[in-house]
């Protein structure tokens, strides 16, 4: 893909800028939710897609990011923009911790069960650490502000979210195109061969987990102010299934896939909200069908349509 074509991608956020003028608050909220799930999908995809490790602790980073932001705002009175970086850092640290079993050589389903357990332990912690989190009753998140500018409407939050998401997409894109991305690919293809070639696999594994966790933590900070009320039930196994759906439907190991998945998985349930009870059934069927007939997700359709969308840094 030529450099010029890639530059064209920068037009996409510019096109999005006037969009809020066309939307009612409900549609704007759905768009915001889709936006905040973009980093969640990207971070998750980095570890399970690009690195190929079955780490199921994504909801833990998401929740920790959200609670970090919420707690700093509610207890210390910090403005939201000051809590965004700490939320990312906490997510990153949690990611590094979750990589410990992987470094010890735990792989496949063993790693899956262990990281799943880590995520659930975090949820238990939110319930029990009542002083900080409000326990199971949840906590109200104060109105956010950005450099003194109040983020009290969905439209205002949209611009803050858009800026953060563009930054995340751009940096992650750079990361995947650098030697880091090539190292991830090498580890995914054949870890032992990668180590034999002198790639410090441990270091790259920690890096992928930490970057993934940080990015997801940022998504959590956005979630905190978008919903405005945090409670442990938002970070349960159903949430994990939703985040899985994002990367499976979007496309494993694909940056574009993470973005498409976030949009589809946020928008799809809105169609069913007026059809009581169909939510789970339709959701399950959607994932089944995508895995069967589009194993590389919707992103592969785009790649087929135009080579500019193809991923250079992922192979099955």
């Amino acid at each position: 893909m030529s450099r010029v074509t890639r530059r064209l991608f920068w037009l996409i956020p510019l096109v999005l800028v006037p969009v809020p003028l066309l939307l009612n608050p409900y549609q704007q909220y759905v768009v915001n939710t889709a936006l905040l799930y973009v980093p969640v999908g990207i971070g998750f995809n980095l570890v399970v897609g690009n690195l190929g490790l079955l780490a199921f602790s994504n909801v833990a980073y998401f929740g920790l990011g959200a609670y970090t932001s919420g707690v700093l705002m509610a207890h210390l009175g910090l403005p939201w923009w000051l809590t965004v970086i700490p939320a990312g850092m906490v997510g990153g640290v949690a990611g590094s911790i979750a990589s410990i079993p992987a470094l010890r050589g735990v792989r496949l389903f063993y790693l899956a069960i262990m990281t799943l357990a880590f995520g659930e332990l975090m949820r238990w912690t939110y319930i029990r650490w009542e002083v900080l989190t409000g326990g199971s009753m949840g906590m109200a998140v104060p109105t956010a502000s950005l450099f003194g500018w109040s983020l009290d409407t969905d439209r205002r939050r949209f611009y803050a979210f858009l800026a953060i998401v563009v930054l995340i997409v751009a940096t992650t894109d750079r990361l995947l195109r650098s030697r880091f991305g090539r190292a991830f690919l090498a580890i995914k293809d054949n870890e032992i061969a990668a180590a034999a070639m002198g790639i410090p696999t441990d270091r790259y594994i920690v890096l992928a987990f930490a970057w993934g966790g940080a990015v997801v933590g940022l998504g959590g900070a956005m979630f905190a102010i978008s919903v405005g009320h945090l409670s442990p039930i938002s970070f349960d196994l159903t949430e994990l299934i939703r985040q899985f759906a994002i990367i499976m439907v979007g496309g494993l190991g694909s940056l574009t896939g993470g973005i498409i998945g976030a949009v589809i998985i946020t928008a799809a349930p809105q169609v069913f909200t007026s059809f009581p009870g169909f939510d789970e059934l339709v959701f399950g069927l959607l994932i089944v069908l995508v895995i069967l007939f589009l194993p590389r997700g919707l992103a592969s359709l785009l790649a087929r349509a135009h080579p500019a969308f193809a991923d250079r840094y992922y192979r099955d």
């Binding site: 409900y26 909200t273 007026s274 939510d279």
Partner: protein, 400 residues
């Protein structure tokens, strides 16, 4: 089939959108009033959705009578799965896209707390069945509880148990969620302020299949009564364990379980007699006396999918209904051209209004947005008959 229903609903909504608006209040036209009916239609809390179907049945019944002052009720359902993020999306859809007059049912406290600021800001009324008393206390404009919150139910649980002479040592068995705290925290407040003592606090989580450790801890604590703030499956699990270890306590369930269904889970009722009670919301036994009318309304106006697959309409159908009854009554009082202001005024004018369902009559005021207070208790008599009690040992006569 639900699909056909959904299609009909969509067509009806499209028709409404083209109808001329009678006045400025959102969701009210010359001939219709739009109601947003929100609840956990999917997810593990979906056992609460009879709270959504109860009021819906009543609106269909009223519509068949010709509606209120020429207005018929049109319901839009929305699924929140008891999840805040999803609940906010569902509420925003109802408010900004379906443009409903009010939001109803909404059994999930977390969701209700999350959407409350938006409701107040947008001036969309809410009458819900969620247990968290903070939603309607202190009174916010348009936010009403026509049924009992955790405060009334928690107090009723504690006061009934402590009404048994000599009962002061009490144990808690609860889920770790906002719903259970709504009941158990308020029961605890009552117990402590009446010289009672909490001798054990045990957690029994949603989905647990065993309560051995909890039952034995309760036994070891020497408790005389247990406040069981548990959903139905876990309440049954705990009762079975208490029975197994012959723990001599009285057990007060919360409103998350259906008394009849709990009793049915026990082929032999001996252990439950004069031992297992629940706070009781209604003025008579379910489906009997004044409640028979509502039984017939449910069976006539709800579809097969909305009714239980097995057995008669349960407690939650009746418990959902008062929200619709007071809404209809307030519209009746607000006259032929209701607005949000006149409806709210009419709501606050309700004094000693008998819903025909609840044990207490509804009284609202500008500072009082929870309509009912007095509750009964239901349990099995020494003879094994389902009996409604005003207080310990004070049975309400049967109305049949």
């Amino acid at each position: 089939m639900r699909i056909t229903q959904a299609i009909i609903a969509v067509v009806a909504m499209a028709g409404l959108a083209t109808a001329a608006r009678a006045d400025s209040t959102q969701g009210i036209t010359a001939s219709t009033i739009m109601i947003g009916n929100m609840g956990p239609f999917s997810g593990p809390q979906s056992t609460f959705t009879p709270l959504n179907y109860g009021p819906e049945a009543y609106f269909r019944y009223i519509n068949e009578q010709g509606g209120v002052n020429g207005h018929k009720f049109v319901t839009v359902f929305a699924d929140d799965s008891c999840n805040e993020a999803k609940g906010i999306a569902a509420a925003k859809k109802l408010i900004y896209e379906d443009k409903v007059f009010m939001i109803m049912a909404n059994p999930c406290s977390g969701v209700a707390m999350a959407i409350k600021p938006m409701l107040v800001q947008e001036g969309v009324p809410w009458i819900g069945a969620s247990a968290n008393p903070k939603i309607s206390r202190p009174a916010s404009p348009g936010i009403f509880h026509s049924t009992y919150t955790g405060i009334e139910s928690g107090r009723a649980m504690a006061s009934f148990a402590m009404g048994k002479p000599g009962t002061t040592k009490i144990a808690l068995a609860m889920h770790s969620d906002d719903w259970a705290h709504g009941y158990c925290d308020n029961a605890t407040d009552y117990i402590k302020s009446h010289n009672g003592e909490i001798v054990a606090t045990t957690a029994l989580e949603h989905g647990a299949t065993d309560g051995t450790a909890q039952a034995l801890q309760i036994k070891a604590s020497g408790a005389q009564a247990v406040m069981a703030c548990l959903y139905q499956p876990e309440l049954i699990v705990l009762l079975r364990e208490l029975q197994k270890y012959q723990v001599d306590v009285i057990v007060l369930g919360a409103l998350g379980a259906d008394f009849d269904q709990v009793i049915q889970a026990f082929p032999n009722h001996d252990y439950l007699k004069q031992r297992f009670f629940q706070p009781y919301q209604f003025k008579a036994k379910i489906g009997t006396g004044p409640l028979k009318k509502f039984h017939d309304i449910f069976v006539k106006y709800l579809t097969k999918d909305e009714l239980p697959k097995v057995g008669e309409p349960t407690n939650f159908y009746y418990f959902g209904v008062p929200a619709a009854i007071v809404t209809v009554e307030a519209f009746r009082r607000a006259g032929p051209n209701p607005t949000r202001e006149s409806w709210e005024k009419a709501m606050e004018s309700l004094k000693d209004f008998d819903t025909g369902v609840l044990a207490d009559s509804e009284t609202f005021g500008p500072d009082k947005h929870v309509g009912v207070e007095k509750m009964y208790a239901v349990g099995l008599s020494a003879q094994g008959q389902e009996t409604v009690y005003k207080a310990w040992g004070d049975a309400l006569p049967d109305t049949e």
